[in-house]
């Protein structure tokens, strides 16, 4: 572990923590523009988090320790994931400890604890949200794994920095398999981040909510951590997408400070474009019935598997 790597790691973490709420705010802003509404401030997520941190937490009488621990576990898992995903540079000491499969495991860990905490309180909404979340999760996870495997097959490594290093250095070639994987990944990220075809992040309509139903009982600092973790999750997924499909501009192993400094604006530009695309998708599509979710995610899985098969046949 070099000291440069260590500094880089910290820098990347700090940027992820700081930029994540901004990305959420940006998506909300684009969405409002596209729907002819007055946009909320870009800084709204920061203000919400600050406001929540200043309040006193109310915890239900019958809440067990799991309920209190969960925000910290979820937030911790997301921070760890942000440390693994190469968003600025590939020379990350942390990333060597965990590969793409462990990353999916981290997301799963967060999801399991969220569901447990939601059921812990014993309200009807909590259990309903937990059930739906697991339902969506168990369909989305294999598709996400397949997407990551496609990229691994092309680059011959399951570690994300390895994948980025290979893909950023390849000759310019058309990879049909990556196109399949890209579409599948978009669908999975929509489902995983509680975005519109599956869930609506801006609703408290009782019958349709999934993510919001699970966190109804949280308040103050717990809620702040969960909101921040949700923003981080969106940030992480965007960075995975960038790393797999448009890895150009990420500072490579052994590059100098200049490249790293140049990588930051590139990352911000890509995230802004990705956030805008997300807002467009959300505006164009309608929320789907929960029982249509298997079809949606089944299609994502199918596309990912097809990508892998096409890669095998056409030889990348």
């Amino acid at each position: 572990m070099t000291s440069t790597g260590f500094v880089l790691q910290l820098l990347q973490l700090a940027i992820a923590l700081l930029l994540a709420p901004l990305l959420t705010g940006w998506v909300a802003m684009c969405r409002a523009w596209l729907q002819n509404k007055r946009a909320p401030s870009l800084m709204l997520p920061y203000r919400t988090i600050r406001k929540l941190f200043h309040k006193d937490a109310v915890v239900a009488e019958h809440a067990s320790r799991i309920f209190r621990m969960t925000p910290y576990i979820v937030f911790g898992a997301m921070v760890l994931a942000a440390a693994i995903v190469p968003s600025l540079a590939t020379d990350l000491p942390f990333a060597r400890a965990a590969d793409a499969i462990a990353l999916v495991g981290l997301f799963a860990l967060a999801r399991v604890f969220m569901a447990l905490a939601a059921m812990d309180i014993g309200t009807a909404f909590g259990s309903m949200g937990a059930r739906r979340e697991m339902f969506v999760g168990f369909l989305a996870e294999p598709a996400l794994l397949m997407v990551l495997f496609t990229a691994s097959l092309i680059s011959g490594s399951t570690s994300l920095p390895g994948i980025v290093d290979t893909l950023a250095h390849r000759e310019i070639a058309i990879y049909p398999s990556l196109a399949f994987a890209g579409v599948a990944f978009t669908m999975v990220s929509l489902a995983e981040n509680a975005r519109i075809p599956i869930d609506n992040p801006a609703t408290h309509l009782e019958l349709t909510m999934i993510h919001e139903a699970m966190i109804l009982e949280y308040s103050a600092r717990h809620l702040a951590l969960i909101e921040w973790a949700a923003a981080l999750k969106l940030f992480n997924y965007s960075c995975i997408g960038i790393a797999l499909f448009v890895p150009f501009g990420i500072a490579e192993r052994g590059s100098d400070w200049q490249a790293i400094l140049a990588a930051t604006p590139v990352l911000v530009a890509k995230l802004a474009a990705g956030g805008f695309a997300l807002a467009v998708i959300e505006t164009l599509s309608a929320k789907m019935r929960i029982f249509r979710a298997p079809e949606f995610l089944g299609t994502a899985f199918l596309l990912a598997v097809l990508g892998m098969l096409v890669n095998q046949l056409l030889g990348g």
């Binding site: 049909p176 196109a179 399949f180 299609t299 596309l303 598997v305 097809l306 056409l314 030889g315």
Partner: protein, 221 residues
């Protein structure tokens, strides 16, 4: 890693073809089904034209033009006219639900890729990698014909199977002789016209285009 750019384009179009075959398999609405069929024809015509350019085989330009005329313009137009006349706007019902159909489709794709792999190893054409995809699209069209209950989706399945066969011919041997191709094109066209007449007859007789009525052998049961 240094695959020539033409080969890459053909591979890309082959992948698009496979994707469209799956899209047709999962499509519920007849109108979108016809549009997808037209798109498949378009991808086929493009890939044939590219093969023609890459291998300098002028007669393939003819096939590409024929595909474009027949499968992108004429047949979709006929089908559109047909459903307008029959006034069918229903959703296509499948015998099995769509996620299961898709999974079956994946199994078929794996099967045909396995089947095609040894053949592709022996071949020396630019397009050898796509033989598996061509076989897979034939299989998927078969599956579509099997799992659909109504007459029009079955016919579209039949037509798209011909697309797959045509693609297989292009990728295995750079296309069939022109005479054969013209014959097949005419066959398809005539089949389409006759089936169009059949649709009206079937509906006249049974008041529906559901083919399970045809399984009854006697009248008035």
């Amino acid at each position: 890693m240094s695959i020539p750019v033409w080969s890459q384009l053909i591979n890309l179009l082959a992948a698009v073809l496979l994707l469209l075959a799956f899209a047709m398999l999962s499509q519920r609405r007849v109108l979108s089904l016809i549009n997808l069929f037209a798109a498949q024809g378009m991808a086929l015509a493009c890939s044939t034209a590219i093969v023609a350019y890459a291998t300098a085989q002028p007669h393939l330009y003819g096939s590409a033009g024929l595909t474009l005329m027949l499968k992108v313009v004429l047949l979709p137009w006929l089908l559109h006219r047909l459903i307008r006349k029959l006034d069918v706007k229903w959703d296509v019902e499948g015998l099995i639900n769509i996620p299961l159909t898709m999974l079956l489709g994946i199994v078929l794709v794996v099967f045909s890729f396995n089947l095609a792999y040894p053949i592709a190893q022996l071949a020396s054409t630019v397009t050898r990698a796509t033989i598996g995809i061509a076989m897979a699209s034939v299989m998927l069209s078969f599956l579509m014909m099997i799992t659909r209950r109504k007459a029009i989706p079955q016919v579209i399945g039949f037509l798209s199977m011909e697309n797959g066969l045509f693609f297989a011919a292009t990728s295995a041997t750079y296309g069939m002789p022109m005479v054969v191709e013209l014959g097949i094109a005419l066959d398809i066209l005539v089949a389409m016209l006759i089936l169009g007449v059949f649709f009206f007859q079937i509906r006249e007789q049974f008041d529906s285009l559901d083919l399970k009525h045809l399984e009854k052998l006697k009248e008035g049961e």
